[in-house]
Amino acid sequence: VTEGAVSRRLIIAAVDGSPHSLVALEAAAQVASQLNARLRAMFVEDIDLLRTAELPFSRVVASSGESRPLTLEDLERQLRRLEEAARKAVEAAGARFRLSWSFDVVRGAVVSEIARAGAEADMITVGRAGWSGRGRARLGSVTRALLDYCPSPVLLVEMQDGLEGPVAVLYDRGEAARHALDLALDMIRGRPSPLTVLLLGEDQAGARREVQQHLREAGMPENSWTLRDETLQGLPEALRKIRAKVVFAPQSAAGILDTLRCSAVVVR
């Protein structure tokens, strides 16, 4: 379903009906609205799950610790339910942010389906969820794979917070870092979010000059941003101190994401 004029930019939200993915969808809608982009929500029916369900001996262990047989019938019923929930959420978010939006259900391997669709998107959003199910910060295998294969920037959305608030950019003079800085500027344009650029790498003075020049050229008022020298080890502490809500990071610095408790945009 598509409504309104076709926008130039495209944001893809990967949804699976889980609470994390619905939060990610909300963030995607917000970003789409900010970047004046179209929103495409994708529900991937994981082919691995379907196959597993077809195996005669398959069982699942629920979070209560209870184990019971996994049947294809059960799984499909669950998927229909989640799809329906996701569709409703997309519809609501689209209406709320006045977006041009679509909702697709695809069957296949999750990572490759999203990565393929992501090739033509300006950003992909996913919820952050790890294996623990209840714990949060660690990345799930799907997320990890996406970061490895997806060519476009990936927004990992933290469960509890919105995107409003201080924004941090990790800058190491690489191409990806420049791209990340531009994206960050797009995202905060017209909003009062304070921006902190954390300078990494050997030549922090050079990085500082580059960023200063870039920000001035972009027309950012002097008092709206801060530059700070930082090391990879000190990053978690520094991010906590500035209470960053969203971190823009080049893929080279994606290693720190495990320890973070905020949303992050990883740029290749």
């Binding site: 077809e54 005669p56 979070s63 610790g65 623990s132 660690r138």
Partner: protein, 806 residues
Amino acid sequence: MRHSTELSVQALYTPCDPAAFTFETTADIVERPEVIGQVRAVQSLQLGVEIPGDGYNVFALGPEGVGKRFVVESHLASAAKLRPSPPDLCYINNLSESNKPRSLLLPAGTAVRLKQDVQELIEDISTALPGSFETEEYQSRLHALEEDFRSKPAKSFEELQERARRRDLAMLQTPMGIAFAPVKGAEVISPEEFQKLKPAERERMEKEISELQDEVQKVMRQIPRWERELRTKVRDLNQEVASFAIGHVIDDLVATYRAHAPVVAYLQEVRKDVIEHAKEFLQIHEAQASGRAPAGAALAETVLSRRYTVNVLVDNSGRKGAPVVYEDHPTYDNLIGRIEHIAQMGTLVTDFNLIKGGALHRANGGYLVMDARKVLMMPFAWDALKRALQSRQLRIESLGQAFSMVSTVSLEPEPIPLDVKVILIGDAMLYYLLCRFDPEFSDLFKVSADFDDETQRSAENQNRFAALIASLASRYQLHPLDRGAVARVIEYSSRLAGDAQRLSLSVETIAEILREASYWAGKSGHEVVGAADVDYAIESRDFRSDRIRERTREAILRNTVYIDTGGAVVGQVNGLSVLQLGRFAFGQPSRITARVRAGKGEVVDIEREVELGGPLHSKGVLILSAFLGASYASRFPLALSASLVFEQSYGGVEGDSASSAELYALLSAISETPIRQAYAVTGSVNQMGQVQPIGGANEKIEGFFDVCAARGLTGEHGVLIPASNVKHLMLKRPVLEAVRDGKFRIHAVETIAQGIEVLTGIPHGVRDTAGDYPAGTIGALVQKRLKEMAQKQIEFARLAEGKGPS
């Protein structure tokens, strides 16, 4: 001619001699007693106040206006000074059982200080707490704990995932939980491929998957335990931080109050409670700071303050001696205390801060004075008072709770020991009713302080009375009175008592006269109140109450009400009655008539026939029949039928004070001898013909005098009073002057014989041994007439039997 029964002017008024006083004005009197003549009451009061033990509470009974409350309170004030100040009373939160607030008794003056100190403590805590949780150190320790918790399941799952991978298995998250499946390359194998595997291979996979599933189950079951561990560790951390933050402030306060063990115990509880709940307080604090809770209230004011503050019910700081409390409005709540409620989100809630003390709390350790009638009139107050006195405990319970009408959760404040003397003030009637009908009353109020309304008018008491006048004058800041004025007030007091030999102790009325006399003296520019001022005060007081008396006198003078004050009439006499209107009493004459005829020997009391006469009046009339029969018709039947009536009386008639008048009218009617209408008569009579005393002699005499004086005194006018009433006479000046000038006569008679002689001018006569009266006397006339009637009756009886006259 002066009759032997006529009284001289000296007998009509017993003056108080100003020369007997040693002072010039009341300002010279040094010793000023607050009370005189109440020896009995004061002794009882002293006993009741000083004696220890249960039930020695006092009921001060006596007529209105004798100064009971003043005497009680001034007595208590001096007794209270000798007793120690009672402790302060506060209620504090029961931190383990909040619906049962605890009481705290502290040495006088300590409670308010403690309240302030605790308030400061609360402020200190509310600034120290948030700060300690915002430190970098706390945040990183908290983060470490959370990180540790998160890493445990994640690590286990990663290990399992790794184990699975090594065996060509994938660990998958499904919407229903975690599953394992065999993989080929990066993908789960399809069922067809699986079927192609060798059975042994399939079996191995199934077995391995089953093992892994068991492992997952183990991890899943561990998670709640890890969560619990995290919660415990975070709580311990919070407590450690809070304890460090507030420990020293509480320690300081504990050191200050180390002499008061209950306070120290409370402070230690507060410490424990703050540490346990620190994080909750902070959450509320944060909610308020971020505007999610009602704004404008700081942490200290809302959460901590309501929880830890000290609710001071009784503050005895600065008090010297025991308290004396007068409760003017002794409702249940005002007496016992109450528990208020505040509306919160549409429901009524309460806590220990809303406990309010009552009069018993304030008076605990001292004295509580109340008006008995008010206590009895307030619903449930009397029972509550008795319950408290019996149990010697003060328990605050709402009425709804006490009577199980409300079953919502409310407070049960810890009862406090009660040690109070209650002094009830009331009239004698109430006291005796309570004694009769309330079985617990006598046990609880063992002492009765019985106040007298009058005292002997001795020389000594007159001097004391003068001193009382001095004390009243200074209490109400009046002009001093000179000796003459004091003498007049004493005479007025005698008149109030209705007895020349007694003094009224109605301090209130005396005080009113003093104030009014002082007012009039001031108006006339007198520095010192003189006898004339007192006289004027009394006269103007009478005048102000005089309207009805004026009306009744007018009715007589205008001949609407028939009263003859001259001439002589058969069977008609002027009786005298007293009307009491509020505190003002006056006398007025009424015409009493008697008619006789032959009959069955009865005296009909018309008042009684129409139920306008009371039992005492009827008794008086029946006595008349008895007297007539015995005195004049002892040897033949009394064949008389007589009727008696109070003419123009439309209200009730009660009392026997007119029975002598009725007898005179009857004797006159029977003997057909006219009675002098210039006289009026009062006095009751017995079967022997003796005249007995009556009340209100002064008012009655004055009532008739006023009518006569208005018509013009001729020297014929007068009043017959019982001789035994002479000692009561304190007549007004105009009467005294008229008597002195021979224009008005007052006869004190002892017998009917004396009275009828004055009224008719004919002696009554004394019976001889044969039972006959000397010819020409009233006795003879009456006897003769009665004999005739008896004769006639006998004749009628014969006729009726058909025998004809003999």
